[in-house]
């Protein structure tokens, strides 16, 4: 297995290098056969990386401890699912997994560009292959997944217990998919800059890739938050940890990019800005990996620290310097006939939306690296934790939500007083009424009142937009409202999918406010048969039960959860002990409703006194965070879904290209 894996990775590196060389030679000599060979080499590279990943998976499944990686991150008693996920549980495996995704995406792009984007395709593939060369270089020379373990131990060290959770089975792949797929728009942007083809062609070609990346970044962040919520046992889901921040920043920048490209497509503006954003998004994905791997910034999520930091930092700096140089060298070509008639216009709203999104990304970046700066400048270690990020980002988030309501309804070019009154009266009224209701309900914090009001305002703007569309269809094509609604979304999926995403963001925003401001915690030690109250619930402790397997010990406490005198559920929070590593872990018990989550942690068991201690959180609205994530994902799928109009546009573009090629060919024949 070692030989197969190492050989496959070495061949993959050679193939990636060959592809770069062949593309360069093919471009210089105008040899189509050489360019085709470069493309084929990338497919072969993907096959080799897949073979290497398969070899490591095989080693993990067979508990082949002659491989150092398997011995370090698996064991014979590890459940099969986690043997599979152990591929990204350690340093070398996660880099191999990253490279596998990159190789697959590169192969797909090589396939997609066989007949499309012929002018820039070789450059796109050169950039993607160059990124692959970096990762394959790491895997071949710096952090080798197939190093042998001599002598092979009889048993492995096991996977970190915190990673033995189903959310961890899907969180890293989602996040990695989001990170790695950002390479595709970045490669197209580089190619556009190199070739000087700086119209919005590269944006249209990579729109789905950008959405795909955003989709998986969204899911990755959500899954990570859910993992933290269920596994870390502190009743929260986001702690502004550096690794969390590293995943959040590319999401913010990609969100800004997806909005600002609309302005370029519509108004041919913001070309430099869009190119800068996609470069920044890609650089931030590398920065995230740098943080996770380097140990420069301490993080509870850095499961795999190593000496890779300098390599990643060098690559990151090279990418930033190279891309910035390329961008600056093309500034003259990127000048557009920008025009903006009014601050009260959709393009202005998008500009401010971009400012806030990038501003939040910068604040997160600044807070993440400030401890390093402080230590370098003052020699004093400091911590930048949740209070900083909440205080700095809180007002910016309110501004962002406000703009999310304004952007979709305000007119392009210039909004008139009439446009503003027609569009915003009902949503503003919804916002004010919600604020007054919240006030009447005894909510006094200005942030909560503003947040709930703005959330209602944004939902109001979306309802107005849907209502307008449905009414228009009813008037024009005489459809009944339910059918009109379906057709409205189906035929304008990009626009209405975006609104669905906005609904998801509002849900998540409301959940964040509710769970941040109104969480209550109760800590009680009780004996069997005793009860205590948490909010509307009465919890009766029924007793302990234990389970001993070869892999772990499990001590569960049974709690009868009652509300209004009736049992609503029996919950069993547990303490686990992973035998191989002698590491304790928590399994929380959660009763989720749309109103609140009852979150129970078994904090301690005193065998002598018979007292069992529970840490219980009652967290309002937290379910809406997950619901918001699902809604955002659904909206993104709707947005990405191809529709007839788009297919027709693509077909028309293809027909135009064929006609142009025919004309070119005819003129060449005449010339000959």
């Amino acid at each position: 297995m070692t030989l197969i894996g190492q050989t496959a990775l070495a061949l993959a590196l050679i193939l990636a290098l060959y592809s770069i060389g062949a593309n360069l030679f093919g471009l210089r000599s105008r040899r189509l056969d050489v360019l085709a060979s470069a493309r084929h080499a990338l497919w072969a590279m993907a096959a080799m990386v897949a073979l290497a990943a398969g070899a490591l998976w095989s080693g993990l499944l067979r508990s082949d401890f002659s491989l150092e990686y398997v011995a370090s991150y698996s064991s014979t008693t590890l459940p099969t699912l986690y043997k599979l996920t152990a591929l990204w549980g350690g340093q070398q495996g996660s880099l191999l997994f990253w490279t596998l995704l990159l190789a697959i995406f590169t192969a797909i792009v090589a396939f997609q560009t066989r007949e499309r984007n012929a002018e820039i395709a070789p450059y796109v593939l050169i950039v993607m292959a160059a990124v692959a060369v970096f990762f394959l270089g790491m895997l071949n020379f710096v952090t080798r997944p197939f190093d042998p373990m001599i002598p092979a131990p009889a048993e492995g060290a096991d996977l970190n217990p915190l990673l033995q959770n189903y959310w961890m089975a899907i969180h890293p792949p989602s996040l990695y998919t989001g990170y790695v797929s950002a390479t595709v728009p970045f490669a197209f942007a580089c190619a556009a800059l190199i070739t000087g083809r700086l119209d919005d062609g590269w944006i249209r070609s990579t729109r789905r890739w950008a959405l795909f990346s955003w989709f998986f970044l969204t899911l990755g962040n959500m899954f990570g938050a859910r993992w933290a919520y269920e596994v870390l046992g502190w009743g929260g889901y986001w702690a502004w940890d550096p690794v969390e921040n590293a995943a959040f920043m590319p999401w913010l920048v990609m969100t800004a990019y997806l909005h600002s490209v609309m302005v370029q497509e519509r108004k041919d503006m913001l070309k430099v800005w869009n190119l800068a954003l996609i470069g920044l998004a890609f650089a931030l994905t590398l920065f995230g990996t740098f943080i996770t791997r380097s140990g420069v910034i301490s993080s509870v999520h850095s499961f795999t620290q190593s000496g890779l930091g300098p390599y990643f930092l060098s690559f990151l700096l090279a990418v930033v310097a190279g891309y910035t140089g390329l961008l600056l060298s093309r500034l003259r070509l990127l000048r557009s006939a920008a025009e903006l008639e009014s601050y009260l216009s959709r393009e202005a709203a998008f500009l401010f939306n971009n400012l806030i999104l990038v501003g939040i990304a910068f604040a997160v970046f600044w807070g993440t690296i400030f401890p390093v700066i402080s230590e370098a400048v003052r020699g004093v270690k400091i911590t930048v934790g949740p209070p900083f990020f909440n205080k700095v980002n809180g007002p910016l988030a309110l501004a962002l939500i406000f703009l999310m309501g304004v952007g979709p309804l305000i007119a392009w070019r210039r909004a008139t007083r009439r446009n503003l009154v027609q569009s915003f009266t009902a949503p503003a009224a919804a916002g004010i009424v919600t604020g007054l209701f919240a006030l009447a309900a005894g909510i006094h914090q200005w942030y909560v009142l503003s947040g709930f009001s703005l959330a209602a305002f944004v939902l109001g703007t979306i309802v107005v937009e849907f209502e307008r569309g449905v009414a228009a269809r009813g008037r024009m094509v005489h459809e009944r409202p339910p059918r009109a609604l379906v057709n409205l979304v189906a035929k304008n999926n990009r626009r209405y999918g975006g609104y669905i995403i906005h609904i998801g963001v509002v849900f998540a925003f409301v959940a964040i406010i509710g769970s941040s401001f109104f969480k209550t915690e109760v800590k009680r030690s009780v004996r069997e048969g005793q009860s205590f109250e948490v909010g509307p619930y009465k919890l009766v402790y029924l007793g302990l039960s234990s389970l001993d397997t070869v892999h772990l010990e499990n001590v569960s406490a049974r709690l009868n959860v009652m509300r209004d005198g009736k049992t609503v559920e029996v919950l069993e929070p547990a303490k686990l002990l992973y035998k191989r590593q002698q590491q304790p872990a928590t399994r929380v018990a959660i009763r989720s409703t749309l109103g609140s989550d009852l979150y129970i942690v078994l904090a301690g068991v005193d065998d002598k006194s018979g007292l069992v201690t529970f840490d219980v959180f009652l967290t309002p609205l937290v379910s809406w965070l997950w619901l918001g994530g699902v809604t955002m994902a659904l909206g993104t799928v709707v947005t990405m879904w191809p529709n007839a109009r788009e297919r027709e546009a693509i077909a028309a573009a293809a027909r135009r290209r064929v006609s142009a090629l025919e004309r070119e060919l005819a003129s060449e024949v005449r010339g000959a």
Binding site: T383, F388, K391, A411, R414, A428
Partner: protein, 163 residues
């Protein structure tokens, strides 16, 4: 509509004043509030208020110390100052707002403010050519009832085909 907006704003402003300020007496800090201001030193990366390690050697005794300090009548700021004196700045969960640390708080807003100024300058520049060319083009949103019937009919026909 306008009076209700003004009224709600006034109410929001009035209610956003902390209760303690209205009551005239300073509220006692809670263990939770003070714990949020301190970073647990056990390596969990959470605040003292949130660390849930059952036998944490830092968060659990620290919460006890905080409770005792609150009993003595110390304010949140005084307690945080005492812990800073004992463990150094790293124990605080956010940078202080003095000296070099002030940069941590100020720079994000300076960056956003600078971005805002850049946008305003850019918009002024983007609007200038239009003004120099003799005003703005008629905006679509202005059209409203000014469009003639034939054009309106054509627009509706086009729209129907798109639908």
């Amino acid at each position: 509509m306008r009076w209700s907006m003004v009224l709600s704003l006034v109410l929001v402003a009035a209610m956003s004043v902390p209760r303690s300020a209205r009551a005239g007496a300073p509220a006692r800090a809670t263990i939770q509030e003070v714990g949020e201001g301190l970073t647990c030193q056990c390596g969990c990366g959470l605040t003292v208020a949130n660390c849930n390690h059952p036998s944490c050697g830092f968060a659990i005794p620290t919460r006890g110390e905080i409770a005792a300090m609150i009993e003595k009548g110390m304010s949140r700021a005084q307690i945080l100052h005492a812990f800073r004196h004992k463990y150094g700045e790293k124990v605080l969960s956010a940078p202080t707002t003095e000296g070099f640390n002030l940069l941590a708080w100020v720079i994000p807003y300076v960056a956003v403010g600078s971005g805002m100024v850049l946008i305003l300058i850019a918009v002024v520049r983007w609007r200038r050519p239009q003004r120099e060319a003799g005003g703005t083009r008629p905006a679509v949103a202005l059209a409203g009832e000014q469009v003639d019937a034939a054009l309106k009919h054509r627009l509706e026909e086009d729209l129907r085909r798109q639908l």
